[in-house]
Protein backbone atom coordinates (compact mmCIF):
# COMPACT_ATOMS: atom_id res chain seq x y z
CA UNK A 1 0.00 0.00 0.00
CA UNK A 2 1.36 3.37 -0.96
CA UNK A 3 -0.64 6.38 0.15
CA UNK A 4 0.99 8.70 -2.34
CA UNK A 5 0.27 6.41 -5.30
CA UNK A 6 -3.39 6.47 -4.29
CA UNK A 7 -3.34 10.27 -4.43
CA UNK A 8 -1.81 10.16 -7.92
CA UNK A 9 -4.52 7.82 -9.18
CA UNK A 10 -7.40 9.58 -7.42
CA UNK A 11 -6.32 13.09 -8.46
CA UNK A 12 -8.99 14.76 -10.57
CA UNK A 13 -6.21 15.85 -12.90
CA UNK A 14 -5.12 12.29 -13.63
CA UNK A 15 -5.36 12.43 -17.44
CA UNK A 16 -7.84 9.65 -18.12
CA UNK A 17 -10.54 11.53 -20.00
CA UNK A 18 -12.98 12.13 -17.13
CA UNK A 19 -12.99 15.91 -17.53
CA UNK A 20 -15.26 15.68 -20.59
CA UNK A 21 -17.96 13.76 -18.71
CA UNK A 22 -20.57 14.93 -16.23
CA UNK A 23 -21.84 11.53 -15.08
CA UNK A 24 -25.39 12.45 -16.02
CA UNK A 25 -25.26 15.85 -14.31
CA UNK A 26 -25.66 17.85 -17.53
CA UNK A 27 -28.94 16.11 -18.30
CA UNK A 28 -30.11 16.49 -14.70
CA UNK A 29 -29.30 20.22 -14.74
CA UNK A 30 -31.23 20.73 -17.98
CA UNK A 31 -34.18 18.75 -16.59
CA UNK A 32 -34.21 20.93 -13.49
CA UNK A 33 -33.25 18.16 -11.08
CA UNK A 34 -30.00 19.87 -10.11
CA UNK A 35 -30.39 23.57 -9.39
CA UNK A 36 -28.17 24.24 -6.38
CA UNK A 37 -25.83 22.62 -3.85
CA UNK A 38 -28.64 20.76 -2.06
CA UNK A 39 -29.95 19.11 -5.22
CA UNK A 40 -26.39 18.38 -6.35
CA UNK A 41 -25.90 16.57 -3.06
CA UNK A 42 -29.03 14.49 -3.56
CA UNK A 43 -27.90 13.65 -7.09
CA UNK A 44 -24.43 12.63 -5.89
CA UNK A 45 -25.91 10.46 -3.16
CA UNK A 46 -28.08 8.64 -5.69
CA UNK A 47 -25.17 8.15 -8.03
CA UNK A 48 -22.87 6.95 -5.26
CA UNK A 49 -25.23 4.24 -4.02
CA UNK A 50 -25.98 2.90 -7.52
CA UNK A 51 -23.38 3.46 -10.22
CA UNK A 52 -20.72 4.23 -7.62
CA UNK A 53 -21.30 1.06 -5.60
CA UNK A 54 -21.31 -1.20 -8.66
CA UNK A 55 -18.18 0.40 -10.09
CA UNK A 56 -16.40 0.26 -6.73
CA UNK A 57 -17.18 -3.44 -6.30
CA UNK A 58 -15.96 -4.26 -9.80
CA UNK A 59 -12.80 -2.25 -9.23
CA UNK A 60 -12.18 -3.99 -5.90
CA UNK A 61 -12.71 -7.41 -7.50
CA UNK A 62 -10.31 -6.63 -10.35
CA UNK A 63 -7.71 -5.24 -7.96
CA UNK A 64 -7.94 -8.28 -5.69
CA UNK A 65 -7.71 -11.00 -8.32
CA UNK A 66 -7.34 -9.96 -11.90
CA UNK A 67 -9.28 -12.24 -14.16
CA UNK A 68 -9.93 -9.42 -16.57
CA UNK A 69 -12.08 -11.33 -19.02
CA UNK A 70 -14.37 -12.59 -16.27
CA UNK A 71 -14.61 -9.20 -14.59
CA UNK A 72 -15.24 -7.50 -17.88
CA UNK A 73 -17.94 -10.00 -18.77
CA UNK A 74 -19.48 -9.49 -15.32
CA UNK A 75 -19.55 -5.78 -15.99
CA UNK A 76 -21.41 -6.43 -19.23
CA UNK A 77 -24.15 -8.47 -17.56
CA UNK A 78 -27.29 -6.42 -17.90
CA UNK A 79 -28.07 -6.45 -14.20
CA UNK A 80 -24.51 -5.71 -13.10
CA UNK A 81 -23.39 -2.44 -14.57
CA UNK A 82 -26.22 -0.28 -15.82
CA UNK A 83 -25.27 0.21 -19.41
CA UNK A 84 -24.56 3.88 -19.19
CA UNK A 85 -25.28 5.19 -15.72
CA UNK A 86 -24.03 8.47 -16.98
CA UNK A 87 -20.55 7.26 -18.05
CA UNK A 88 -19.71 5.45 -21.24
CA UNK A 89 -17.72 2.75 -19.45
CA UNK A 90 -15.67 1.21 -22.25
CA UNK A 91 -14.59 4.49 -23.77
CA UNK A 92 -13.42 5.76 -20.41
CA UNK A 93 -11.83 2.38 -19.78
CA UNK A 94 -9.75 2.73 -22.91
CA UNK A 95 -8.67 6.24 -21.95
CA UNK A 96 -7.76 5.14 -18.43
CA UNK A 97 -5.82 2.24 -19.91
CA UNK A 98 -3.64 4.60 -21.92
CA UNK A 99 -2.90 6.82 -18.93
CA UNK A 100 -2.31 3.84 -16.65
CA UNK A 101 0.13 2.08 -18.97
CA UNK A 102 2.16 5.23 -19.40
CA UNK A 103 2.09 5.93 -15.66
CA UNK A 104 2.62 2.44 -14.19
CA UNK A 105 3.99 0.16 -16.95
CA UNK A 106 2.70 -3.31 -16.18
CA UNK A 107 2.33 -6.67 -17.93
CA UNK A 108 -1.23 -7.27 -16.71
CA UNK A 109 -2.34 -3.91 -18.09
CA UNK A 110 -0.61 -4.68 -21.41
CA UNK A 111 -2.41 -7.99 -21.60
CA UNK A 112 -5.80 -6.40 -20.86
CA UNK A 113 -5.12 -3.77 -23.54
CA UNK A 114 -4.31 -6.54 -26.00
CA UNK A 115 -7.51 -8.38 -25.15
CA UNK A 116 -9.71 -5.27 -25.36
CA UNK A 117 -8.10 -2.90 -27.88
CA UNK A 118 -11.23 -0.71 -27.94
CA UNK A 119 -11.46 -0.61 -24.18
CA UNK A 120 -12.43 -2.79 -21.24
CA UNK A 121 -14.91 -1.57 -18.64
CA UNK A 122 -13.53 1.42 -16.78
CA UNK A 123 -13.87 -0.04 -13.23
CA UNK A 124 -12.06 -3.21 -14.35
CA UNK A 125 -9.21 -1.17 -15.81
CA UNK A 126 -9.22 0.90 -12.63
CA UNK A 127 -8.80 -2.23 -10.50
CA UNK A 128 -5.84 -3.42 -12.57
CA UNK A 129 -4.36 0.05 -12.54
CA UNK A 130 -4.52 0.05 -8.75
CA UNK A 131 -2.63 -3.29 -8.73
CA UNK A 132 -0.02 -1.92 -11.09
CA UNK A 133 0.40 1.06 -8.77
CA UNK A 134 0.93 -1.24 -5.79
CA UNK A 135 -2.49 -0.45 -4.35
CA UNK A 136 -5.14 -2.76 -2.95
CA UNK A 137 -8.82 -3.55 -3.41
CA UNK A 138 -9.99 -0.84 -1.01
CA UNK A 139 -7.88 1.78 -2.78
CA UNK A 140 -9.40 0.83 -6.14
CA UNK A 141 -12.89 0.95 -4.62
CA UNK A 142 -12.17 4.39 -3.16
CA UNK A 143 -11.12 5.74 -6.54
CA UNK A 144 -14.25 4.37 -8.21
CA UNK A 145 -16.67 5.51 -5.51
CA UNK A 146 -15.14 8.96 -5.20
CA UNK A 147 -15.00 9.63 -8.91
CA UNK A 148 -18.65 8.58 -9.19
CA UNK A 149 -19.48 11.82 -7.39
CA UNK A 150 -16.50 14.14 -7.88
CA UNK A 151 -16.83 14.27 -11.67
CA UNK A 152 -20.47 15.32 -11.43
CA UNK A 153 -19.72 17.94 -8.79
CA UNK A 154 -17.02 19.62 -10.87
CA UNK A 155 -19.24 19.45 -13.97
CA UNK A 156 -22.01 21.27 -12.08
CA UNK A 157 -19.58 24.04 -11.17
CA UNK A 158 -19.24 24.66 -14.91
CA UNK A 159 -22.87 24.00 -15.82
CA UNK A 160 -24.57 26.14 -13.16
CA UNK A 161 -21.68 28.46 -12.26
CA UNK A 162 -22.18 26.95 -8.81
CA UNK A 163 -19.84 28.32 -6.17
CA UNK A 164 -16.88 25.89 -6.24
CA UNK A 165 -16.60 26.03 -2.43
CA UNK A 166 -20.20 24.83 -2.16
CA UNK A 167 -19.58 22.02 -4.61
CA UNK A 168 -16.55 20.87 -2.64
CA UNK A 169 -18.52 21.06 0.60
CA UNK A 170 -21.08 18.72 -1.01
CA UNK A 171 -18.30 16.18 -1.59
CA UNK A 172 -17.18 16.54 2.01
CA UNK A 173 -20.72 15.91 3.27
CA UNK A 174 -21.04 12.82 1.06
CA UNK A 175 -17.60 11.50 2.09
CA UNK A 176 -18.79 9.40 5.08
CA UNK A 177 -21.18 7.62 2.73
CA UNK A 178 -18.33 7.04 0.29
CA UNK A 179 -16.55 5.24 3.13
CA UNK A 180 -19.56 2.98 3.74
CA UNK A 181 -20.02 2.26 0.02
CA UNK A 182 -16.34 1.31 -0.23
CA UNK A 183 -16.71 -1.08 2.72
CA UNK A 184 -19.63 -2.85 1.03
CA UNK A 185 -17.85 -2.88 -2.33
CA UNK A 186 -14.69 -4.42 -0.91
CA UNK A 187 -16.60 -7.15 0.93
CA UNK A 188 -18.38 -8.07 -2.32
CA UNK A 189 -15.28 -7.71 -4.49
CA UNK A 190 -13.20 -10.00 -2.30
CA UNK A 191 -15.84 -12.73 -2.52
CA UNK A 192 -15.65 -12.83 -6.33
CA UNK A 193 -12.59 -15.12 -6.63
CA UNK A 194 -14.28 -17.82 -4.51
CA UNK A 195 -17.93 -17.35 -5.43
CA UNK A 196 -18.02 -15.76 -8.87
CA UNK A 197 -19.21 -12.44 -10.18
CA UNK A 198 -22.79 -13.13 -9.09
CA UNK A 199 -21.99 -11.76 -5.64
CA UNK A 200 -21.32 -8.27 -7.01
CA UNK A 201 -23.98 -5.68 -6.19
CA UNK A 202 -26.28 -4.78 -9.05
CA UNK A 203 -27.85 -1.50 -7.92
CA UNK A 204 -29.17 0.44 -10.88
CA UNK A 205 -30.40 3.97 -11.42
CA UNK A 206 -33.10 3.96 -14.11
CA UNK A 207 -33.43 7.75 -14.23
CA UNK A 208 -29.69 8.13 -14.82
CA UNK A 209 -29.86 5.59 -17.60
CA UNK A 210 -32.88 7.19 -19.26
CA UNK A 211 -31.21 10.59 -18.92
CA UNK A 212 -27.99 9.27 -20.44
CA UNK A 213 -29.86 7.91 -23.45
CA UNK A 214 -31.61 11.26 -23.93
CA UNK A 215 -28.39 13.21 -23.46
CA UNK A 216 -26.61 11.11 -26.08
CA UNK A 217 -29.12 12.40 -28.62
CA UNK A 218 -28.74 16.09 -27.86
CA UNK A 219 -27.42 18.23 -30.70
CA UNK A 220 -25.81 20.77 -28.38
CA UNK A 221 -24.10 19.77 -25.15
CA UNK A 222 -21.04 20.67 -23.13
CA UNK A 223 -20.15 17.20 -21.87
CA UNK A 224 -19.72 13.92 -23.71
CA UNK A 225 -21.97 12.22 -21.14
Amino acid sequence: MSGAALLVLADGRFPAGGHAHSGGAEEAVKAGRITDAASLEAFCRGRLHTAGLVAAALAAAAAAAPTPSNSDAAADAPDALPRRCGWPPRRLGRQLMRAARATWPDAELDSLAREFPKGAHQPVVLGLTARAAGLGAADAAYCAAYESVSGSASAVVRLLSLDPFEATAVLARVAPEVDRVVDRAVVAGLRVPGEGAGVLPSASAPLLEIGAEAHAGWGVRLFAS
Binding site: R13, P15, A16, G17, G18, H19, A20, H21, S22, R91, R94, Q95, M97, R98, A99, R101, A102, P105, D110, A113, R114, P117, A155, R158, L159, G219, V220, R221, L222, F223, A224
Partner: protein, 225 residues
Protein backbone atom coordinates in the same frame (compact mmCIF):
# COMPACT_ATOMS: atom_id res chain seq x y z
CA UNK B 1 7.89 5.72 -24.99
CA UNK B 2 7.66 2.19 -26.32
CA UNK B 3 5.95 -0.07 -23.86
CA UNK B 4 5.13 -2.78 -26.30
CA UNK B 5 7.20 -3.88 -29.23
CA UNK B 6 5.18 -6.84 -30.37
CA UNK B 7 3.84 -6.45 -33.90
CA UNK B 8 0.20 -6.93 -32.89
CA UNK B 9 0.40 -5.48 -29.39
CA UNK B 10 -1.80 -2.81 -27.86
CA UNK B 11 -1.87 0.55 -29.53
CA UNK B 12 0.89 3.04 -28.79
CA UNK B 13 0.69 4.87 -25.52
CA UNK B 14 1.15 8.48 -26.46
CA UNK B 15 3.38 10.31 -28.86
CA UNK B 16 5.24 7.26 -30.17
CA UNK B 17 6.48 7.93 -33.66
CA UNK B 18 5.53 4.43 -34.68
CA UNK B 19 2.24 2.62 -34.47
CA UNK B 20 1.83 -0.75 -32.79
CA UNK B 21 2.47 -2.54 -36.09
CA UNK B 22 5.81 -0.72 -36.48
CA UNK B 23 4.65 1.59 -39.27
CA UNK B 24 5.45 5.26 -38.91
CA UNK B 25 2.34 7.12 -37.80
CA UNK B 26 0.89 10.22 -39.41
CA UNK B 27 2.29 13.66 -38.68
CA UNK B 28 -0.09 15.49 -36.34
CA UNK B 29 -0.47 19.24 -36.66
CA UNK B 30 -2.61 21.20 -34.16
CA UNK B 31 -4.49 24.38 -35.03
CA UNK B 32 -5.48 26.56 -32.09
CA UNK B 33 -6.57 30.14 -31.54
CA UNK B 34 -9.44 32.35 -30.42
CA UNK B 35 -13.08 31.85 -31.42
CA UNK B 36 -13.85 33.06 -34.92
CA UNK B 37 -10.26 33.60 -36.03
CA UNK B 38 -10.64 31.21 -38.95
CA UNK B 39 -9.28 27.88 -37.72
CA UNK B 40 -11.96 25.80 -39.42
CA UNK B 41 -11.70 27.83 -42.63
CA UNK B 42 -7.93 27.30 -42.59
CA UNK B 43 -8.38 23.55 -42.03
CA UNK B 44 -10.85 23.41 -44.92
CA UNK B 45 -8.48 25.32 -47.21
CA UNK B 46 -5.54 23.12 -46.19
CA UNK B 47 -7.54 19.99 -46.93
CA UNK B 48 -8.40 21.27 -50.40
CA UNK B 49 -4.78 22.24 -51.05
CA UNK B 50 -3.20 19.00 -49.79
CA UNK B 51 -5.74 16.21 -50.25
CA UNK B 52 -4.54 15.20 -53.71
CA UNK B 53 -0.93 14.87 -52.52
CA UNK B 54 -1.39 13.30 -49.08
CA UNK B 55 -3.70 10.99 -47.15
CA UNK B 56 -5.41 13.37 -44.70
CA UNK B 57 -7.77 13.26 -41.72
CA UNK B 58 -9.15 15.90 -39.35
CA UNK B 59 -10.09 15.84 -35.65
CA UNK B 60 -12.23 18.75 -34.45
CA UNK B 61 -12.71 19.76 -30.82
CA UNK B 62 -15.98 21.62 -30.77
CA UNK B 63 -16.84 23.19 -27.46
CA UNK B 64 -20.51 22.35 -27.33
CA UNK B 65 -21.66 21.30 -30.79
CA UNK B 66 -20.52 19.39 -33.81
CA UNK B 67 -20.61 22.54 -35.92
CA UNK B 68 -16.97 22.59 -36.97
CA UNK B 69 -17.07 18.96 -38.00
CA UNK B 70 -20.36 19.55 -39.77
CA UNK B 71 -18.96 22.59 -41.61
CA UNK B 72 -16.11 20.45 -42.92
CA UNK B 73 -18.54 17.71 -43.90
CA UNK B 74 -20.87 20.17 -45.63
CA UNK B 75 -17.98 21.69 -47.51
CA UNK B 76 -16.98 18.15 -48.46
CA UNK B 77 -13.30 18.90 -47.97
CA UNK B 78 -12.72 15.24 -47.08
CA UNK B 79 -14.86 12.09 -47.10
CA UNK B 80 -16.89 11.85 -43.87
CA UNK B 81 -14.95 8.89 -42.50
CA UNK B 82 -11.85 11.09 -42.37
CA UNK B 83 -13.42 13.68 -40.04
CA UNK B 84 -13.98 13.00 -36.31
CA UNK B 85 -15.35 15.30 -33.59
CA UNK B 86 -14.13 15.08 -29.98
CA UNK B 87 -16.31 16.39 -27.15
CA UNK B 88 -14.43 18.50 -24.67
CA UNK B 89 -16.54 18.93 -21.51
CA UNK B 90 -16.69 22.74 -21.64
CA UNK B 91 -12.91 22.96 -21.50
CA UNK B 92 -11.27 22.87 -24.94
CA UNK B 93 -7.76 23.61 -23.71
CA UNK B 94 -7.91 20.66 -21.28
CA UNK B 95 -8.65 18.29 -24.16
CA UNK B 96 -5.63 19.43 -26.18
CA UNK B 97 -3.15 19.97 -23.36
CA UNK B 98 -3.85 18.59 -19.87
CA UNK B 99 -5.82 15.46 -20.69
CA UNK B 100 -5.30 14.48 -24.30
CA UNK B 101 -6.72 10.96 -24.08
CA UNK B 102 -9.89 11.52 -26.13
CA UNK B 103 -7.93 13.26 -28.89
CA UNK B 104 -5.26 10.54 -29.01
CA UNK B 105 -7.99 7.97 -29.26
CA UNK B 106 -9.63 9.85 -32.13
CA UNK B 107 -6.31 10.12 -34.00
CA UNK B 108 -5.55 6.43 -33.53
CA UNK B 109 -9.07 5.37 -34.54
CA UNK B 110 -8.72 7.38 -37.75
CA UNK B 111 -5.41 5.69 -38.52
CA UNK B 112 -6.94 2.27 -37.79
CA UNK B 113 -10.07 2.86 -39.82
CA UNK B 114 -9.01 4.90 -42.86
CA UNK B 115 -5.21 4.70 -42.65
CA UNK B 116 -2.48 4.74 -43.59
CA UNK B 117 -2.49 8.51 -43.14
CA UNK B 118 0.23 11.07 -43.86
CA UNK B 119 -1.25 13.96 -41.91
CA UNK B 120 -3.85 14.47 -39.19
CA UNK B 121 -4.98 18.04 -38.53
CA UNK B 122 -6.23 18.47 -34.95
CA UNK B 123 -8.34 21.59 -34.63
CA UNK B 124 -8.85 22.99 -31.14
CA UNK B 125 -12.13 24.50 -30.03
CA UNK B 126 -11.98 28.30 -30.06
CA UNK B 127 -10.23 29.27 -26.85
CA UNK B 128 -8.06 31.93 -25.31
CA UNK B 129 -4.53 33.14 -25.94
CA UNK B 130 -3.02 30.67 -23.46
CA UNK B 131 -4.28 27.52 -25.18
CA UNK B 132 -1.49 25.37 -26.58
CA UNK B 133 -1.32 21.73 -27.64
CA UNK B 134 0.51 19.07 -25.67
CA UNK B 135 3.57 17.61 -27.40
CA UNK B 136 2.04 14.24 -26.53
CA UNK B 137 -0.75 15.00 -29.00
CA UNK B 138 0.76 17.00 -31.88
CA UNK B 139 4.16 17.26 -33.52
CA UNK B 140 3.73 20.89 -34.55
CA UNK B 141 1.17 23.59 -33.89
CA UNK B 142 -0.30 26.52 -35.74
CA UNK B 143 -1.88 29.40 -33.82
CA UNK B 144 -4.50 31.32 -35.80
CA UNK B 145 -5.46 34.88 -34.87
CA UNK B 146 -7.19 37.45 -37.03
CA UNK B 147 -6.81 41.17 -37.66
CA UNK B 148 -10.38 41.90 -36.53
CA UNK B 149 -9.73 40.52 -33.04
CA UNK B 150 -7.53 43.54 -32.34
CA UNK B 151 -4.10 44.42 -33.73
CA UNK B 152 -2.64 44.37 -30.21
CA UNK B 153 -2.88 40.57 -29.88
CA UNK B 154 0.69 39.89 -31.10
CA UNK B 155 1.97 42.52 -28.65
CA UNK B 156 0.05 40.91 -25.77
CA UNK B 157 1.74 37.60 -26.54
CA UNK B 158 0.77 34.58 -24.47
CA UNK B 159 1.83 30.97 -25.04
CA UNK B 160 -0.11 30.55 -28.30
CA UNK B 161 1.27 33.64 -30.01
CA UNK B 162 4.76 33.26 -28.57
CA UNK B 163 5.48 29.56 -28.86
CA UNK B 164 3.41 28.14 -31.75
CA UNK B 165 5.54 26.70 -34.54
CA UNK B 166 3.62 28.89 -36.99
CA UNK B 167 1.58 32.01 -36.24
CA UNK B 168 -1.13 32.78 -38.79
CA UNK B 169 -2.64 36.27 -38.88
CA UNK B 170 -5.88 35.70 -40.76
CA UNK B 171 -8.42 37.93 -42.54
CA UNK B 172 -5.89 40.51 -43.70
CA UNK B 173 -8.52 41.68 -46.21
CA UNK B 174 -10.47 43.13 -43.27
CA UNK B 175 -7.61 45.26 -41.95
CA UNK B 176 -8.67 48.52 -43.63
CA UNK B 177 -12.23 48.15 -42.31
CA UNK B 178 -11.35 47.46 -38.69
CA UNK B 179 -8.42 49.85 -38.45
CA UNK B 180 -5.79 47.17 -37.86
CA UNK B 181 -2.17 48.06 -38.57
CA UNK B 182 -0.61 45.03 -40.27
CA UNK B 183 2.94 46.44 -40.10
CA UNK B 184 2.58 46.90 -36.37
CA UNK B 185 1.21 43.36 -35.97
CA UNK B 186 4.17 42.01 -37.93
CA UNK B 187 6.70 43.97 -35.85
CA UNK B 188 5.07 42.89 -32.57
CA UNK B 189 4.97 39.25 -33.72
CA UNK B 190 8.64 39.41 -34.66
CA UNK B 191 9.47 40.82 -31.23
CA UNK B 192 7.52 38.03 -29.48
CA UNK B 193 8.65 35.15 -31.69
CA UNK B 194 12.17 35.96 -32.84
CA UNK B 195 12.88 33.49 -35.68
CA UNK B 196 9.60 31.54 -35.51
CA UNK B 197 7.60 32.05 -38.73
CA UNK B 198 4.50 34.24 -39.17
CA UNK B 199 2.11 34.11 -42.13
CA UNK B 200 -0.37 36.85 -42.99
CA UNK B 201 -3.24 35.39 -45.00
CA UNK B 202 -6.62 36.16 -46.48
CA UNK B 203 -8.62 33.10 -47.48
CA UNK B 204 -10.78 35.38 -49.64
CA UNK B 205 -8.02 35.60 -52.19
CA UNK B 206 -7.17 32.97 -54.76
CA UNK B 207 -5.00 30.25 -53.18
CA UNK B 208 -5.00 32.22 -49.91
CA UNK B 209 -3.77 29.26 -47.88
CA UNK B 210 -0.70 28.72 -50.10
CA UNK B 211 1.95 29.86 -47.59
CA UNK B 212 0.52 27.77 -44.76
CA UNK B 213 0.27 24.79 -47.09
CA UNK B 214 3.93 25.25 -48.01
CA UNK B 215 4.83 25.26 -44.32
CA UNK B 216 2.82 22.07 -43.73
CA UNK B 217 4.57 20.39 -46.67
CA UNK B 218 7.91 21.27 -45.09
CA UNK B 219 6.82 19.70 -41.80
CA UNK B 220 5.73 16.58 -43.65
CA UNK B 221 9.02 16.38 -45.52
CA UNK B 222 10.93 16.65 -42.23
CA UNK B 223 8.67 14.05 -40.57
CA UNK B 224 9.13 11.45 -43.28
CA UNK B 225 12.82 12.18 -43.91
Amino acid sequence: MHLDHSPHGPSAVSADARRADGARRALRVGLGGPVGSGKTATVAALCRALRDEFSLAVVTNDIYTREDAEFLLREAVLPPERITAVETGACPHTAIRDDISANLEAVEDLEDEVGPLDLVLVESGGDNLTATFSKGLVDAQIFVIDVAGGDDIPRKGGPGVTTADLLVVNKTDLAPYVGSDLARMAADAKAQRAELPVVFQSLRSEDGVREVAVWVREQLAAWTA
